[in-house]
Amino acid sequence: MSDRKTELLEFLQKELAQDHPGVDLSTEPLVESGIIDSLGIMKLVQFLEQRYQLKIGDQDLVPDNFENLDAILRLLAEKGR
Protein backbone atom coordinates (compact mmCIF):
# COMPACT_ATOMS: atom_id res chain seq x y z
CA MET A 1 0.00 0.00 0.00
CA SER A 2 1.35 3.46 -0.86
CA ASP A 3 2.40 5.74 1.98
CA ARG A 4 -0.20 8.24 1.02
CA LYS A 5 -2.96 5.65 1.07
CA THR A 6 -1.85 4.49 4.52
CA GLU A 7 -1.75 8.05 5.82
CA LEU A 8 -5.17 8.78 4.44
CA LEU A 9 -6.65 5.65 5.95
CA GLU A 10 -5.12 6.55 9.30
CA PHE A 11 -6.56 10.06 9.15
CA LEU A 12 -10.01 8.81 8.17
CA GLN A 13 -9.96 6.16 10.90
CA LYS A 14 -8.80 8.52 13.62
CA GLU A 15 -10.64 11.71 12.74
CA LEU A 16 -13.77 10.88 10.79
CA ALA A 17 -14.74 7.25 11.15
CA GLN A 18 -14.71 6.67 14.91
CA ASP A 19 -18.40 5.84 14.78
CA HIS A 20 -17.91 3.28 12.01
CA PRO A 21 -15.86 0.49 13.58
CA GLY A 22 -14.91 -2.50 11.49
CA VAL A 23 -15.56 -0.76 8.19
CA ASP A 24 -13.03 -1.25 5.37
CA LEU A 25 -12.32 2.39 4.63
CA SER A 26 -10.38 1.57 1.49
CA THR A 27 -13.58 0.44 -0.25
CA GLU A 28 -16.37 2.04 1.79
CA PRO A 29 -18.51 4.71 0.05
CA LEU A 30 -17.37 7.50 2.36
CA VAL A 31 -19.94 10.17 1.56
CA GLU A 32 -22.94 7.86 1.22
CA SER A 33 -22.15 6.22 4.56
CA GLY A 34 -21.89 9.63 6.25
CA ILE A 35 -18.22 9.21 7.22
CA ILE A 36 -17.50 12.33 5.18
CA ASP A 37 -20.16 14.96 5.78
CA SER A 38 -20.17 18.72 5.26
CA LEU A 39 -17.82 19.35 8.20
CA GLY A 40 -15.76 16.22 7.67
CA ILE A 41 -14.91 17.30 4.14
CA MET A 42 -13.50 20.59 5.47
CA LYS A 43 -11.42 18.78 8.05
CA LEU A 44 -10.12 16.34 5.49
CA VAL A 45 -9.28 19.09 2.98
CA GLN A 46 -7.38 21.05 5.61
CA PHE A 47 -5.40 17.90 6.42
CA LEU A 48 -4.65 17.18 2.75
CA GLU A 49 -3.59 20.77 2.05
CA GLN A 50 -1.27 20.92 5.04
CA ARG A 51 0.13 17.41 4.75
CA TYR A 52 0.82 17.47 1.01
CA GLN A 53 1.46 21.20 0.59
CA LEU A 54 -1.18 21.67 -2.07
CA LYS A 55 -4.22 23.82 -2.66
CA ILE A 56 -7.59 22.24 -3.26
CA GLY A 57 -9.90 24.90 -4.67
CA ASP A 58 -13.38 25.35 -3.22
CA GLN A 59 -14.64 24.42 -6.68
CA ASP A 60 -13.29 20.91 -6.11
CA LEU A 61 -15.20 20.39 -2.88
CA VAL A 62 -17.99 18.36 -4.45
CA PRO A 63 -19.09 15.02 -2.98
CA ASP A 64 -18.00 13.18 -6.16
CA ASN A 65 -14.34 13.96 -5.42
CA PHE A 66 -14.60 12.38 -1.99
CA GLU A 67 -16.98 9.48 -2.57
CA ASN A 68 -14.32 6.87 -1.74
CA LEU A 69 -10.61 6.55 -1.10
CA ASP A 70 -9.79 6.10 -4.78
CA ALA A 71 -11.61 9.33 -5.66
CA ILE A 72 -9.59 11.22 -3.04
CA LEU A 73 -6.34 9.72 -4.34
CA ARG A 74 -7.35 10.71 -7.87
CA LEU A 75 -7.98 14.27 -6.73
CA LEU A 76 -4.54 14.38 -5.09
CA ALA A 77 -2.96 13.06 -8.26
CA GLU A 78 -4.75 15.73 -10.30
CA LYS A 79 -3.38 18.37 -7.96
CA GLY A 80 0.07 17.14 -8.87
CA ARG A 81 0.95 15.28 -5.67
Partner: protein
Amino acid sequence: MDFTESEEQALFRRQIVEFARARLNSGVKERESSGTFDRAGFLACAEIGLLGLPVPEAYGGLGQGVVSSMIAMEALGYGAEDQGLAFAVNTQLWTCEVPILHFGTEAQKQRYLPKLVTGELIGGHATTEPNSGSDAYAMETKAELKDGVWILNGNKTFITNAPIADVLIIFASTGESKGFGGGITAFLVETDQKGVQIGPPLKKMGLKTSPMAEVHLEDVVVPPEMVLGKKGGGAAIFSSEMEWERSCLFACHLGAMARQLEKCVEYAKERKQFGQAIGKYQAISHRLANMKLRIEMARPMLYKVGWLKDQGQRAVLEAAIAKLYVSEAYVQSSLDAVQIFGGYGYMEEYDVERMLRDAVGSVLYSGTSDIQRNIIARWLGL
Protein backbone atom coordinates in the same frame (compact mmCIF):
# COMPACT_ATOMS: atom_id res chain seq x y z
CA MET B 1 0.45 37.34 12.49
CA ASP B 2 0.41 41.10 12.20
CA PHE B 3 -2.79 43.14 12.39
CA THR B 4 -1.09 46.53 12.47
CA GLU B 5 -3.30 48.93 10.61
CA SER B 6 -1.67 50.71 7.69
CA GLU B 7 -2.11 54.49 7.41
CA GLU B 8 -4.44 53.89 4.52
CA GLN B 9 -6.57 51.45 6.52
CA ALA B 10 -6.69 53.83 9.51
CA LEU B 11 -7.80 56.67 7.24
CA PHE B 12 -10.48 54.50 5.64
CA ARG B 13 -11.69 53.50 9.10
CA ARG B 14 -12.03 57.16 10.12
CA GLN B 15 -13.77 58.07 6.88
CA ILE B 16 -16.35 55.32 7.30
CA VAL B 17 -17.07 56.26 10.91
CA GLU B 18 -17.58 59.90 9.92
CA PHE B 19 -19.66 58.88 6.92
CA ALA B 20 -21.89 56.59 8.99
CA ARG B 21 -22.47 59.25 11.64
CA ALA B 22 -23.26 61.90 9.06
CA ARG B 23 -25.33 59.88 6.59
CA LEU B 24 -26.85 56.86 8.28
CA ASN B 25 -27.96 57.85 11.76
CA SER B 26 -30.73 60.38 11.45
CA GLY B 27 -34.23 58.94 11.72
CA VAL B 28 -33.09 55.53 12.99
CA LYS B 29 -35.72 55.41 15.72
CA GLU B 30 -38.55 56.20 13.32
CA ARG B 31 -37.33 53.63 10.80
CA GLU B 32 -36.99 51.06 13.57
CA SER B 33 -40.58 51.60 14.77
CA SER B 34 -42.00 51.41 11.25
CA GLY B 35 -39.63 48.64 10.12
CA THR B 36 -38.41 50.73 7.20
CA PHE B 37 -35.33 49.90 5.18
CA ASP B 38 -33.10 52.93 4.48
CA ARG B 39 -32.58 52.61 0.76
CA ALA B 40 -30.95 56.04 0.52
CA GLY B 41 -28.49 54.98 3.23
CA PHE B 42 -27.83 51.73 1.37
CA LEU B 43 -27.02 53.66 -1.79
CA ALA B 44 -24.81 56.03 0.21
CA CYS B 45 -22.89 52.97 1.45
CA ALA B 46 -22.42 52.00 -2.19
CA GLU B 47 -21.19 55.49 -3.03
CA ILE B 48 -18.33 55.36 -0.56
CA GLY B 49 -17.40 51.90 -1.78
CA LEU B 50 -18.67 49.71 1.04
CA LEU B 51 -20.75 47.54 -1.27
CA GLY B 52 -17.70 46.80 -3.37
CA LEU B 53 -15.14 46.18 -0.64
CA PRO B 54 -13.85 42.74 -1.72
CA VAL B 55 -14.83 43.07 -5.37
CA PRO B 56 -11.99 43.75 -7.84
CA GLU B 57 -11.83 47.14 -9.52
CA ALA B 58 -12.63 45.49 -12.85
CA TYR B 59 -16.20 45.02 -11.57
CA GLY B 60 -16.38 48.43 -9.93
CA GLY B 61 -15.23 47.46 -6.45
CA LEU B 62 -12.34 48.42 -4.21
CA GLY B 63 -10.50 45.10 -4.40
CA GLN B 64 -9.76 44.98 -0.69
CA GLY B 65 -8.53 41.92 1.19
CA VAL B 66 -10.33 40.29 4.10
CA VAL B 67 -8.60 42.21 6.91
CA SER B 68 -9.23 45.55 5.18
CA SER B 69 -12.86 44.57 4.63
CA MET B 70 -13.14 43.68 8.30
CA ILE B 71 -11.71 47.04 9.33
CA ALA B 72 -14.30 48.75 7.14
CA MET B 73 -17.10 46.66 8.64
CA GLU B 74 -15.88 47.32 12.18
CA ALA B 75 -15.96 51.03 11.38
CA LEU B 76 -19.48 50.72 9.96
CA GLY B 77 -20.67 48.92 13.09
CA TYR B 78 -19.08 51.59 15.26
CA GLY B 79 -20.43 54.57 13.34
CA ALA B 80 -23.87 53.34 12.27
CA GLU B 81 -26.67 53.11 14.78
CA ASP B 82 -28.90 51.49 12.17
CA GLN B 83 -27.63 47.94 12.62
CA GLY B 84 -30.45 46.64 10.41
CA LEU B 85 -29.03 48.61 7.51
CA ALA B 86 -25.52 47.36 8.32
CA PHE B 87 -26.94 43.82 8.36
CA ALA B 88 -28.48 44.29 4.92
CA VAL B 89 -25.13 45.58 3.61
CA ASN B 90 -23.31 42.59 5.10
CA THR B 91 -25.84 40.15 3.66
CA GLN B 92 -25.36 41.59 0.19
CA LEU B 93 -21.57 41.46 0.47
CA TRP B 94 -20.82 38.08 2.01
CA THR B 95 -23.76 35.93 0.92
CA CYS B 96 -24.29 37.25 -2.58
CA GLU B 97 -21.34 39.20 -4.00
CA VAL B 98 -18.52 37.08 -2.56
CA PRO B 99 -19.95 33.73 -3.76
CA ILE B 100 -20.54 35.18 -7.23
CA LEU B 101 -16.99 36.54 -7.20
CA HIS B 102 -15.41 33.25 -6.11
CA PHE B 103 -17.63 30.71 -7.85
CA GLY B 104 -19.28 32.61 -10.69
CA THR B 105 -18.54 32.36 -14.39
CA GLU B 106 -17.24 35.49 -16.09
CA ALA B 107 -20.71 36.08 -17.56
CA GLN B 108 -22.33 35.80 -14.11
CA LYS B 109 -19.79 38.21 -12.63
CA GLN B 110 -20.35 40.71 -15.44
CA ARG B 111 -24.11 40.42 -15.13
CA TYR B 112 -24.35 40.95 -11.38
CA LEU B 113 -21.26 42.32 -9.68
CA PRO B 114 -21.08 45.85 -11.13
CA LYS B 115 -24.74 46.49 -10.28
CA LEU B 116 -24.52 44.92 -6.82
CA VAL B 117 -21.53 47.14 -6.09
CA THR B 118 -23.45 50.31 -7.02
CA GLY B 119 -26.52 49.18 -5.09
CA GLU B 120 -28.59 49.14 -8.27
CA LEU B 121 -29.22 45.49 -7.49
CA ILE B 122 -29.84 44.02 -4.05
CA GLY B 123 -29.01 40.43 -3.25
CA GLY B 124 -29.07 37.76 -0.60
CA HIS B 125 -29.03 34.01 -0.19
CA ALA B 126 -31.61 31.41 0.71
CA THR B 127 -30.67 28.24 2.51
CA THR B 128 -32.99 27.97 5.51
CA GLU B 129 -36.33 26.21 5.16
CA PRO B 130 -39.21 25.55 7.55
CA ASN B 131 -37.89 22.00 8.20
CA SER B 132 -34.19 22.59 7.76
CA GLY B 133 -32.35 25.26 9.73
CA SER B 134 -29.21 24.12 11.53
CA ASP B 135 -29.43 20.91 9.52
CA ALA B 136 -29.10 23.04 6.41
CA TYR B 137 -28.32 20.23 4.00
CA ALA B 138 -31.52 18.39 4.85
CA MET B 139 -33.25 20.92 2.63
CA GLU B 140 -36.36 19.89 0.76
CA THR B 141 -36.16 22.43 -2.04
CA LYS B 142 -35.41 20.42 -5.14
CA ALA B 143 -33.95 21.28 -8.48
CA GLU B 144 -34.64 18.81 -11.28
CA LEU B 145 -33.09 18.85 -14.71
CA LYS B 146 -35.81 18.65 -17.38
CA ASP B 147 -35.25 19.30 -21.08
CA GLY B 148 -31.94 21.00 -20.41
CA VAL B 149 -33.17 23.45 -17.75
CA TRP B 150 -33.42 23.25 -13.98
CA ILE B 151 -36.86 23.39 -12.36
CA LEU B 152 -36.85 24.61 -8.76
CA ASN B 153 -39.59 23.89 -6.24
CA GLY B 154 -39.61 24.56 -2.51
CA ASN B 155 -39.95 27.07 0.31
CA LYS B 156 -37.28 29.13 2.02
CA THR B 157 -37.68 31.13 5.20
CA PHE B 158 -35.92 33.88 7.19
CA ILE B 159 -34.38 35.26 4.01
CA THR B 160 -32.68 38.58 4.72
CA ASN B 161 -33.14 41.21 2.00
CA ALA B 162 -35.79 39.07 0.25
CA PRO B 163 -38.47 41.83 0.18
CA ILE B 164 -36.05 44.21 -1.56
CA ALA B 165 -33.89 41.70 -3.43
CA ASP B 166 -33.38 41.50 -7.17
CA VAL B 167 -31.23 38.37 -7.10
CA LEU B 168 -30.96 35.52 -4.64
CA ILE B 169 -28.60 32.59 -4.44
CA ILE B 170 -30.94 29.70 -3.87
CA PHE B 171 -29.59 26.43 -2.51
CA ALA B 172 -31.43 23.30 -3.61
CA SER B 173 -30.98 19.58 -3.53
CA THR B 174 -29.99 18.14 -6.89
CA GLY B 175 -29.40 14.57 -5.85
CA GLU B 176 -31.53 11.49 -5.46
CA SER B 177 -31.16 11.50 -1.70
CA LYS B 178 -31.34 14.39 0.74
CA GLY B 179 -28.38 15.78 2.64
CA PHE B 180 -24.80 16.73 1.89
CA GLY B 181 -24.01 13.47 0.09
CA GLY B 182 -27.05 13.76 -2.13
CA GLY B 183 -25.67 16.96 -3.56
CA ILE B 184 -26.62 20.56 -2.94
CA THR B 185 -26.35 23.05 -5.76
CA ALA B 186 -26.53 26.86 -5.76
CA PHE B 187 -28.61 28.74 -8.34
CA LEU B 188 -28.78 32.41 -9.26
CA VAL B 189 -32.45 33.31 -9.30
CA GLU B 190 -33.91 36.72 -10.06
CA THR B 191 -36.88 37.63 -7.93
CA ASP B 192 -39.01 38.74 -10.88
CA GLN B 193 -38.73 35.31 -12.48
CA LYS B 194 -41.98 33.40 -13.03
CA GLY B 195 -42.79 31.18 -10.06
CA VAL B 196 -40.80 33.18 -7.48
CA GLN B 197 -43.03 34.56 -4.78
CA ILE B 198 -41.72 36.68 -1.92
CA GLY B 199 -43.87 36.56 1.22
CA PRO B 200 -44.81 39.57 3.33
CA PRO B 201 -42.02 41.04 5.49
CA LEU B 202 -41.47 38.96 8.63
CA LYS B 203 -41.72 40.81 11.94
CA LYS B 204 -38.62 40.28 14.08
CA MET B 205 -37.37 40.99 17.58
CA GLY B 206 -34.53 43.22 16.36
CA LEU B 207 -32.75 44.37 13.21
CA LYS B 208 -36.16 45.68 12.24
CA THR B 209 -34.82 47.91 9.48
CA SER B 210 -33.39 44.87 7.71
CA PRO B 211 -36.20 43.39 5.63
CA MET B 212 -36.75 39.62 5.73
CA ALA B 213 -39.31 37.30 4.13
CA GLU B 214 -40.14 33.79 3.04
CA VAL B 215 -39.42 32.82 -0.55
CA HIS B 216 -41.66 30.37 -2.39
CA LEU B 217 -40.48 28.67 -5.54
CA GLU B 218 -42.95 27.00 -7.86
CA ASP B 219 -41.65 25.50 -11.07
CA VAL B 220 -39.02 28.22 -11.37
CA VAL B 221 -37.07 27.64 -14.57
CA VAL B 222 -33.33 28.20 -14.22
CA PRO B 223 -31.09 27.81 -17.27
CA PRO B 224 -27.85 25.87 -16.75
CA GLU B 225 -25.78 29.04 -17.11
CA MET B 226 -27.36 30.29 -13.87
CA VAL B 227 -25.93 27.43 -11.80
CA LEU B 228 -23.39 28.96 -9.45
CA GLY B 229 -20.28 26.80 -9.24
CA LYS B 230 -20.55 23.11 -9.98
CA LYS B 231 -23.52 20.80 -9.64
CA GLY B 232 -23.16 19.38 -6.14
CA GLY B 233 -20.85 22.24 -5.15
CA GLY B 234 -23.43 24.12 -3.06
CA ALA B 235 -22.07 22.94 0.28
CA ALA B 236 -18.63 24.36 -0.53
CA ILE B 237 -20.18 27.67 -1.57
CA PHE B 238 -22.17 27.79 1.65
CA SER B 239 -19.08 26.99 3.77
CA SER B 240 -17.06 29.66 2.01
CA GLU B 241 -19.85 32.24 2.54
CA MET B 242 -20.01 31.36 6.20
CA GLU B 243 -16.26 31.92 6.68
CA TRP B 244 -16.60 35.42 5.22
CA GLU B 245 -19.75 36.19 7.15
CA ARG B 246 -18.42 34.84 10.44
CA SER B 247 -15.46 37.20 10.14
CA CYS B 248 -16.71 40.36 8.42
CA LEU B 249 -20.30 40.59 9.72
CA PHE B 250 -19.06 39.92 13.22
CA ALA B 251 -16.41 42.63 12.83
CA CYS B 252 -19.39 44.94 12.34
CA HIS B 253 -20.79 43.68 15.66
CA LEU B 254 -17.42 44.31 17.28
CA GLY B 255 -17.70 47.94 16.18
CA ALA B 256 -21.21 48.15 17.65
CA MET B 257 -19.88 46.77 20.96
CA ALA B 258 -17.22 49.51 21.09
CA ARG B 259 -19.89 52.20 20.53
CA GLN B 260 -22.06 50.59 23.19
CA LEU B 261 -19.19 50.63 25.70
CA GLU B 262 -18.51 54.32 25.09
CA LYS B 263 -22.17 55.12 25.63
CA CYS B 264 -22.19 53.13 28.88
CA VAL B 265 -18.98 54.73 30.21
CA GLU B 266 -20.38 58.17 29.51
CA TYR B 267 -23.62 57.31 31.31
CA ALA B 268 -21.78 55.78 34.27
CA LYS B 269 -19.87 59.05 34.70
CA GLU B 270 -22.97 61.25 34.44
CA ARG B 271 -25.61 59.31 36.35
CA LYS B 272 -25.43 59.96 40.08
CA GLN B 273 -27.00 57.91 42.85
CA PHE B 274 -26.26 58.04 46.58
CA GLY B 275 -24.30 61.22 45.95
CA GLN B 276 -21.80 59.97 43.40
CA ALA B 277 -21.48 58.80 39.80
CA ILE B 278 -22.62 55.18 39.45
CA GLY B 279 -19.31 54.43 37.70
CA LYS B 280 -17.63 54.83 41.08
CA TYR B 281 -19.42 51.70 42.30
CA GLN B 282 -17.41 48.61 41.63
CA ALA B 283 -20.53 46.73 40.53
CA ILE B 284 -20.79 49.13 37.59
CA SER B 285 -17.10 49.69 36.85
CA HIS B 286 -16.39 45.95 36.82
CA ARG B 287 -19.28 45.39 34.47
CA LEU B 288 -17.74 48.02 32.17
CA ALA B 289 -14.32 46.42 32.56
CA ASN B 290 -15.81 43.09 31.47
CA MET B 291 -17.36 44.75 28.43
CA LYS B 292 -13.93 46.14 27.52
CA LEU B 293 -12.35 42.74 28.10
CA ARG B 294 -14.79 41.08 25.71
CA ILE B 295 -13.99 43.60 22.98
CA GLU B 296 -10.25 43.11 23.40
CA MET B 297 -10.61 39.31 23.36
CA ALA B 298 -12.91 39.37 20.36
CA ARG B 299 -10.72 41.57 18.16
CA PRO B 300 -7.69 39.25 17.74
CA MET B 301 -9.95 36.22 17.35
CA LEU B 302 -11.76 37.89 14.49
CA TYR B 303 -8.73 39.39 12.79
CA LYS B 304 -6.94 36.06 12.95
CA VAL B 305 -9.65 34.69 10.66
CA GLY B 306 -9.16 37.59 8.26
CA TRP B 307 -5.39 37.20 8.32
CA LEU B 308 -5.60 33.45 7.62
CA LYS B 309 -7.99 34.04 4.75
CA ASP B 310 -5.75 36.76 3.32
CA GLN B 311 -2.90 34.17 3.36
CA GLY B 312 -5.12 31.86 1.29
CA GLN B 313 -5.62 29.48 4.21
CA ARG B 314 -8.83 27.86 5.39
CA ALA B 315 -10.25 29.08 8.68
CA VAL B 316 -13.27 26.90 9.45
CA LEU B 317 -12.31 26.34 13.09
CA GLU B 318 -11.07 29.88 13.69
CA ALA B 319 -14.21 31.37 12.12
CA ALA B 320 -16.41 29.19 14.34
CA ILE B 321 -14.47 30.21 17.45
CA ALA B 322 -14.61 33.91 16.58
CA LYS B 323 -18.30 33.83 15.63
CA LEU B 324 -19.23 32.00 18.80
CA TYR B 325 -17.23 34.29 21.05
CA VAL B 326 -18.24 37.59 19.45
CA SER B 327 -21.95 36.79 19.30
CA GLU B 328 -22.15 35.63 22.89
CA ALA B 329 -20.02 38.58 24.04
CA TYR B 330 -22.30 40.95 22.09
CA VAL B 331 -25.43 39.60 23.79
CA GLN B 332 -23.82 39.63 27.24
CA SER B 333 -22.49 43.18 26.84
CA SER B 334 -25.89 44.31 25.57
CA LEU B 335 -27.52 42.87 28.69
CA ASP B 336 -24.86 44.59 30.80
CA ALA B 337 -25.60 47.87 29.05
CA VAL B 338 -29.29 47.60 29.97
CA GLN B 339 -28.28 46.87 33.57
CA ILE B 340 -25.95 49.88 33.69
CA PHE B 341 -28.70 52.17 32.40
CA GLY B 342 -31.17 50.76 34.92
CA GLY B 343 -34.84 51.51 34.13
CA TYR B 344 -33.75 53.91 31.41
CA GLY B 345 -32.02 51.03 29.69
CA TYR B 346 -35.38 49.32 29.39
CA MET B 347 -36.96 52.34 27.72
CA GLU B 348 -36.89 52.80 23.97
CA GLU B 349 -35.67 56.39 24.24
CA TYR B 350 -32.13 55.43 25.25
CA ASP B 351 -31.41 52.99 22.38
CA VAL B 352 -29.85 50.51 24.78
CA GLU B 353 -32.73 48.06 24.56
CA ARG B 354 -32.61 48.24 20.75
CA MET B 355 -28.96 47.19 20.83
CA LEU B 356 -29.91 44.18 22.92
CA ARG B 357 -32.71 43.20 20.55
CA ASP B 358 -30.35 43.64 17.58
CA ALA B 359 -27.64 41.58 19.28
CA VAL B 360 -29.76 38.50 20.05
CA GLY B 361 -29.99 37.45 16.38
CA SER B 362 -26.21 37.09 16.26
CA VAL B 363 -26.25 33.87 18.31
CA LEU B 364 -28.69 32.42 15.75
CA TYR B 365 -27.72 33.43 12.21
CA SER B 366 -24.55 32.18 10.48
CA GLY B 367 -25.05 28.99 12.51
CA THR B 368 -26.29 29.04 16.09
CA SER B 369 -23.92 28.96 19.06
CA ASP B 370 -24.64 25.24 19.47
CA ILE B 371 -23.61 24.61 15.89
CA GLN B 372 -20.35 26.58 16.38
CA ARG B 373 -19.61 24.45 19.46
CA ASN B 374 -20.34 21.35 17.37
CA ILE B 375 -17.81 22.51 14.77
CA ILE B 376 -15.17 23.16 17.43
CA ALA B 377 -15.86 19.76 18.99
CA ARG B 378 -15.47 18.06 15.60
CA TRP B 379 -12.07 19.75 15.21
CA LEU B 380 -11.15 18.36 18.60
CA GLY B 381 -11.82 14.92 17.17
CA LEU B 382 -15.06 14.36 19.08
